[in-house]
């Protein structure tokens, strides 16, 4: 009969110390494509055409990207003849304002001013999450569950999943919000004590894309619940999830402003 405890102890620590130090585990994992506006040829709309989720539009001859609709399929990168769309490892895309997911040439961020200090301070070292699947493809659940595996070991950061919404600080929603899940989702949110936060987790929950429209789609959380963190990604990887959680409790800075990724 194997001695499981001994085997476990012998194996030693598997957990990374990221984000303090150590690997984030996402070596080679592609993120949202980056736009090099200087390389973009005016009037060409191949990226707009190539995008299956209409995340790219053209305004005055230049592309405007809504990363809240991006499913990281990399098609625009393949189609752009000028190399203006580039593959990147930008996946830590959690933001507080939905508008920060829209690429903007003129960057001016004054949003940091009104951070909700009191709430964040009370949850900084201990956050309890209730997850609700509002119609996902299960890739988001797969990555959220991975947070509890020995590599990411979410507990080390003082963040826990709780079975009951009564004990939850954060509602983590995946999926575009299908019709049968609409009331169920609201009931879960109402069962949570205040102060309570909401994270739109994955591109479906941010904008519905590509599961919006149709007879049984949804458009994500906009207009349904007050969202504190928007995290696109298809699915967002575990390190992107951790970044977004730590962003919520003000332990990591936001990386993306005006659709642009901080170096």
């Amino acid at each position: 009969m194997p001695l499981w405890t001994w085997t476990g102890l012998k194996a030693g620590k598997a957990a990374t110390r990221w984000p303090q130090s150590g690997p984030d585990g996402q070596e080679g994992v592609l993120g949202m494509p980056r736009l090099d506006i200087a390389a973009c040829r005016s009037g060409c709309d191949l990226c707009v055409e190539s995008c299956p989720t209409q995340a790219i539009h053209q305004v005055d001859g230049e592309p405007v990207i809504d990363y809240g609709r991006c499913i990281v399929c990399q098609r625009c990168v393949e189609e752009c003849p000028e190399g203006a769309m580039q593959s990147s490892y930008d996946w830590a895309f959690g933001v507080r304002q939905r508008s920060d997911l829209i690429w903007s040439a003129a960057l001016e961020s004054a949003e940091a001013a009104d951070l909700r200090k009191r709430i964040a301070a009370s949850q900084r070292r201990s956050l309890h999450i209730r997850h609700v699947d509002a119609g996902s493809c299960n890739a988001c659940e797969s990555e959220i569950s991975a947070l509890d595996n020995p590599f990411y070991n979410l507990h080390r950061l003082g963040i826990f999943f709780t079975p009951s919404p009564r004990f939850a600080d954060l509602l983590m929603v995946t999926g575009p919000v299908t019709a049968p899940m609409h009331d169920v989702l609201l009931a879960t949110w109402e069962a949570m004590p205040e102060p309570r936060s909401v994270m739109a987790t994955g591109t479906c929950a941010v904008s519905g894309a590509p599961m919006d429209e149709g007879y049984a789609g949804g458009s994500g959380l906009e207009g349904i619940l007050p969202v504190d963190i928007w995290l696109p990604g298809c699915p967002p990887n575990p390190a992107a999830l951790i970044h977004a959680l730590l962003l919520l409790v003000e332990r990591m800075p936001q990386k993306v402003t005006g659709g642009q990724y901080a170096q």
Binding site: G8, A11, G25, V29, P52, Q74, F151, A179, G214
Partner: protein, 497 residues
């Protein structure tokens, strides 16, 4: 109508509504097995198709029933068709006479839709309504209690609502209500460019992204007669076997979690993570997405040294499976739990490891070879007992076979193109594509006109196994429920679509 073109890999037999039951019985007598049924509207004509596999013959059999939307139900004769018929009623507006369970399946009580979204006039309007608890058969008795568990349940899980009638520990009746997550995936394909829609297939069931993309691409390649180059065929095997590997490690993590083997659970989930990290490094996507395209792969992969990269995973994986196999407390909980008899598995349409654990020796990779499987050697593990132990044994061996296939396939890679050049044909075509996913048979049937998809039918393995699962719960006990569920390894997204 002459717009229908024959589907490859199938011998097609036209039947009338009057002949249907007799023909179905004849097929069963010849040891054929029904795989799925779906409807289509070709012009204004309703077509219902039944797909069957033959014993020891890679060619499928397709029964076609044209010109009526009122059809005698086969559910009493072929129980697994019950759900397909109910789905066609809900979404296609068809009528099945004499159905033993004539209730809606996809559309919940309290919900409605202006017109059937896969009906004669196509989709318009949106599903709407208010949540209502399901009407359940009344179970009466002194001590009987009813438990509605869900749709939001403990832990990070997919949405579903489970109803139990029980006395103390003993479960009298169990009913899962699914389809909260129904996203209308099949309708999403309609009207889309067939080459561009791989991304939709990848998002039907996230942990089956590679297999869904493969089955979809193969269906379109089948319709268009495209020959995929050998290097791409081997790389496709590598992608789907990596998917199998991380899914099976997850399975053992989850199973150990339910038998409260903490280190066993942690090890399984850590192994899953290692495979996903390897997948991320190799392909840029932990879920092996954005790689497959119609005709091959979107870009080449440097997978020649995969065997070397897999070495630590092979060693740790072997040791892990051995330890589980020697842990009496774990095995005790699996033996005799959730027994599925071979006849129930056959009649109700069990698939994949669940079917193979109940003595049904079927594997699409061997019986209907695709990609490069005909060039590779592998065993198909089968057990007879049909309990959680047998299901776990089959998965364990399948995990080892997946590793062996990865090593073989990467060792046989030769330089060459990774996609075929082709012109999109005009006119109408139909195609069938399939893959043996970690959970069993996945089939895509497509009908294309001038490069655009007209109808896509997805038969997912979890749709089959969710139908079977409750049969192993009735009459068992609460303590075993979670273990039994984990031993099936189901997903809900694939089932709900």
């Amino acid at each position: 109508m002459n717009m229908h073109s024959p589907m490859n890999n199938c011998s097609i037999r036209s039947v009338t509504a009057g002949q249907l039951a007799a023909v179905a019985q004849e097929c069963l007598d010849q040891q054929m097995r029904f795989l799925m049924a779906w409807h289509d509207w070709e012009g204004q004509q309703c077509v219902v198709r039944y797909l069957l596999s033959q014993k020891d013959n890679p060619e499928f059999v397709l029964l076609e029933l044209r010109g009526t939307d009122t059809i005698p139900s086969l559910a009493a004769l072929v129980p697994l068709l019950g759900w397909y018929e109910r789905e066609m009623q809900d979404l296609g507006g068809l009528h099945f006479t004499g159905h033993p369970e004539p209730f809606p399946l996809i559309i919940h009580e309290g919900f409605s839709i202006p017109q059937p979204p896969l009906g004669i006039n196509g989709s318009s309007g949106h599903l709407s309504g208010l949540y209502q608890p399901p009407t359940m058969p009344e179970v009466q008795g002194d001590q009987v209690q009813d438990l509605y568990w869900g749709p939001v349940r403990a832990d990070v899980v997919e949405t579903g609502e489970f109803h139990y009638s029980y006395i103390g520990e003993a479960i009298l009746h169990y009913h899962p209500r699914l389809f909260f997550k129904h996203r209308g995936m099949e309708a999403r394909f309609a009207g889309q460019d067939a080459q561009r829609s791989v991304y939709l297939a990848e998002r039907v069931s996230g942990v089956g992204s590679a297999c869904h993309a493969l089955a979809y691409c193969q269906a379109v390649e089948n319709a268009w007669g495209i020959e995929v180059p050998p290097r791409a065929q081997l790389l496709r095997v590598i992608l789907v076997e990596l998917e199998r590997l991380y899914n099976h490690f997850h399975y053992f993590g989850q199973l150990s979690k339910t038998t409260t083997l903490k280190v066993g659970a942690a090890t399984g989930f850590l192994m899953e993570e290692k495979v996903k990290q390897l997948a991320g490094e190799l392909t840029g996507s932990r879920y092996l997405r954005s790689l497959l395209r119609v005709g091959g792969l979107r870009r080449d992969l440097q997978a020649e040294h995969l065997a070397h990269a897999l070495e630590p995973i092979i060693d740790e994986g072997e040791a892990y499976l051995d330890r589980l196999q020697q842990t009496a407390t774990h095995l005790d909980r699996l033996m005799g739990t959730g027994v599925l008899s071979p006849s129930a598995a056959f009649d109700q349409g069990a698939t994949g490891p669940v079917a193979r654990a109940s003595g049904l020796d079927r594997d699409l990779r061997r019986d209907h070879p695709y990609a490069a499987y005909h060039k590779l050697r592998f065993n198909v593990p089968v057990r007879q007992k049909g309990d959680a132990m047998a299901r776990s044994d089959v998965r364990g061996e399948a995990l080892r076979e997946a590793i062996a296939l990865l090593v073989q396939a990467s060792g046989r890679l030769k330089a060459g193109p990774v996609h075929a050049e082709f012109d999109v044909p005009g006119g109408a075509q139909q195609g069938l594509g399939w893959a043996e996913t970690p959970r069993g048979t996945l089939i895509y049937a497509v009908r294309i006109e001038d490069g655009r998809l007209q109808r896509v039918k997805i038969k997912s393995p979890s749709f089959s196994n969710w139908r079977v699962f409750p049969l192993t719960v009735h009459g068992t006990n609460m303590m075993d429920y979670a273990i039994n569920e984990a031993s099936f390894g189901l997903t809900i997204a694939g089932c709900d679509r």
